[in-house]
């Protein structure tokens, strides 16, 4: 029955990567949510969302983006402007417009608005950046990270600059972080199965041939950039509501490196890679940090260890743990059904 070619089984085979990864995350959350691992668990689930958002752009377009942490920062601060500290908001953000200073939005609308602001920033910056060739575009996103970092750092009246913003309500729980991770994964899955994802992947494989086939490479890249910017922004809102405090320097190169490492270790070009890479790297870092606190390895070597592991993966298994493919339904079906799915990545 499992190997039949019925519409139901075809549907199961089609959505299996999404379902399997979702079930893995639900299982991990169910096991760990009650115990004392709740904090690393929630942080890990938020990171899954960010890495999947990164996959939406990087995996499908083949262009490395170093700038998504800036969109996360935009989303986090936008959420803070709307939800933070009723009585001290004008101490932190004296320059905010009066509407924002006086109204407090509930959690869900606040983070969605944060995501929309981040998506808008992605749209504006994408207009300039997505015309560049692959490598130059990556450097452009690096410059974008620096620009937004500088702007947010200097614009003290809107962002409190170098100081820490405290008092954001703790609205993020393990379960709504899980829900958001699943939503992001669903969006990534739907996007990569859509004609937009297919066109973008065509430009990843051979840009000239894709252009000759009629793909508007600039437009497809921009669409992916905006979608991934939205999800990164909402993830930033979750992150701020998880920590309760945000500060501009925390959205800089170390976070960029960790999220990129999670994507590359898992396999840049697959959704399963994003999820599994995040789980693997989070577990690895947790273990190393426990070693560090016990004094078995010198301090700050957890991060160095992550860098070394990333280099080793790049040298010896460049396509990551999942080898750049999804995890497909393990039971072979009718030859026509299974074969056509395997060719998508």
């Amino acid at each position: 029955m499992i190997e039949a070619n019925t519409p139901l089984m075809r549907f199961v085979r089609e959505v299996w990567p999404l379902v399997l990864n979702g079930l893995i995350l639900v299982a991990i959350t169910a096991v760990l949510a009650g115990g004392n691992m709740k904090v690393p668990l929630t942080e890990g689930l938020i990171r899954v969302s960010i890495v999947v958002a990164l996959y939406i752009f990087i995996g499908n377009s083949g262009i490395l983006s170093f700038g998504h942490i800036a969109f996360m920062m935009i989303g986090a601060y936008a959420t803070a402007w709307q939800t933070c500290c009723d009585y001290t908001r004008d101490l932190f953000f004296p320059g905010l417009p009066t509407y924002l200073l006086e109204t407090t939005h509930p959690f869900i609308p606040a983070i969605i608005l944060g995501g929309i602001l981040a998506a808008f920033a992605a749209l504006v910056s994408g207009f300039a950046l997505m015309r560049l060739s692959g490598i130059a575009a990556s450097i452009g996103t690096f410059a974008l990270l620096m620009i937004l970092y500088t702007v947010y750092l200097r614009w003290q009246t809107w962002t409190a600059g170098n100081s820490t913003v405290t008092g954001i309500p703790f609205d993020t729980t393990a379960w709504n972080a899980l829900a958001f991770a699943l939503i992001t994964m669903l969006a990534a899955f739907l996007y990569s199965r859509s004609k937009f994802g297919l066109a973008l992947r065509a430009s990843r494989e051979d840009e000239v041939a894709a252009k000759a086939a009629g793909v508007n490479v600039f437009r497809q890249r921009l669409i992916a950039f905006v979608i991934s910017g939205f999800f990164a922004g909402v993830a930033g809102g979750f992150y701020g509501s998880f920590l309760g405090t945000i500060t501009v320097p925390s959205f800089h190169l170390p976070l960029t490196f960790i999220t990129l490492a999670m994507l590359v270790v898992g396999g840049m070009q697959s959704l399963s890679g994003a999820v599994i890479g995040t789980i693997a790297v989070t577990a690895f870092l947790q273990v190393l940090r426990i070693f560090e606190t016990n004094g078995w390895i010198p301090s700050s070597s957890a991060d160095m260890g992550l860098g070394v592991v990333l280099l080793l993966i790049l040298i010896f298994r460049g396509s990551g743990i999942t080898n750049n493919t999804e995890i497909f339904f393990p039971f072979k079906g009718n030859a026509s059904g299974a074969g056509s799915i395997k060719r998508q990545s």
């Binding site: 083949g62 262009i63 490395l64 207009f127 300039a128 950046l129 015309r131 560049l132 060739s133 692959g134 490598i135 130059a136 990556s138 450097i139 452009g140 690096f142 410059a143 620096m146 620009i147 500088t150 702007v151 200097r154 840009e207 000239v208 190169l253 170390p254 490196f257 990129l260 490492a261 590359v264 010198p298 301090s299 700050s300 070597s301 991060d303 160095m304 992550l306 860098g307 070394v308 990333l310 280099l311 790049l314 040298i315 460049g318």
Partner: protein, 333 residues
């Protein structure tokens, strides 16, 4: 109009006219003359850094994010490895010429080690993979320095005599270091040009930058050319490091980041893979950075970096391939 702008001779003539007019405007007024010297100095500094990155990109298609961390290592080599609050100069206390030689040698060794351990195994993979690998290498180097030296900033005062101001003309006094920067960059550029055009290895490197596979078929030894590229890039990094530490006197493990941000931007707007483009891009970035800092009103002077970036984005919108694109940059179908 566009045809005229695409004409190479017209562009060179236009650039020369702009430069000459700019210099004439500048030297007539002491304040503007000072801005001229400062902006030339900044431009030279970024041109050096951009050249180190552009060279590796031209030969290997490698975007080297670890370049800033080579600069950082060159700086940290000056002091004794310890996590103490105050730092004691080790190499930094040698005779000045010996300091330069030691740091150049040290950075060259670091560059060659990076090549052997990280970049050689990845030589046949895609440019994005090499870029992430260089990013990871930079991260590893930064954390290595944190482990050895601690996370606090360290002070290192080398060549203090360079910080004194000298009077060039009436009312114009600039620190000697700025003039030294311009001079060092000019000398290094002349040496590099002579190397690339007059020596056998240099010609082989230019051939490899244009078409690596064809050059190998014609007898150019890949390992030699790549090793030379890393050696030159590393030595440029060491000069950047020495100039930077002389100017600031403080080192942190993050000191490489602002350097490579501007250096990358300079390379991109100058034209990736083109050496002249890297120098031009560095000059544009340096000059606009200094000029903006001087003409912006006080309230937004802190945003001068953001304005430089905005100018960069404007240039990229108008001309995505860079100001002086390399011949080999456009993909031939």
């Amino acid at each position: 109009m566009r045809d005229l702008l695409n004409n190479k001779n017209f562009r060179w003539a236009l650039a020369a006219v702009i430069v000459v007019v700019g210099i004439i405007v500048a030297v007539t007024d002491p304040v503007r003359f000072q801005i001229l010297i400062t902006s030339l100095s900044e431009g030279s500094f970024y041109a050096l850094a951009a050249l180190g990155i552009g060279l590796l990109f031209g030969v290997l298609r490698l975007v080297n994010f670890a370049y800033g961390d080579w600069v950082m290592l060159g700086g940290y080599a000056l002091i004794v490895p310890s996590a103490a609050v105050t730092s004691t100069l080790l190499i930094g206390s040698f005779f000045p010429a010996l300091v330069v030689i030691c740091i150049v040698g040290f950075t060259i060794i670091i560059a060659l080690l990076s090549e052997a351990t990280v970049f050689r195994p990845l030589r046949n993979t895609t440019p994005p993979t090499m870029m992430i690998a260089s990013f990871a290498l930079g991260y590893v180097l930064q954390n290595l320095i944190i482990m050895i030296y601690g996370g606090r900033p360290k002070s290192a005062g080398i060549f203090p005599e360079l910080l004194q101001s000298i009077d060039l003309a009436e009312g114009v006094s600039v620190p000697l270091l700025k003039i030294v920067t311009i001079g060092v960059t000019a000398i290094l550029l002349i040496l590099l040009t002579l190397f690339l055009h007059r020596t056998s290895v240099g010609v082989q490197m230019r051939a490899a930058a244009e078409d690596f596979r064809m050059a190998r078929m014609l007898g150019v030894r890949a390992n030699l050319v790549i090793a030379m590229a890393f050696v030159i890039s590393g030595s440029l990094a060491s000069f950047v490091s020495l100039l930077y530490v002389s100017q600031l006197g403080i080192m942190t493990f993050r000191m490489g980041t602002p350097i490579i941000v501007f250096a990358f931007i300079a390379t991109v707007i100058g034209g990736m893979g083109s050496l002249v483009g890297s120098v031009v891009g560095g000059m544009v970035v340096g000059v606009s950075s200094v000029v903006l800092k001087n003409i912006l009103p006080d309230s937004i002077r802190g945003f001068s970096d953001a304005f430089v970036f905005a100018i960069v984005i404007a240039i990229l919108l108008a001309r995505p391939q860079g100001l002086v694109p390399a011949k080999s940059a456009s993909e031939r179908v």
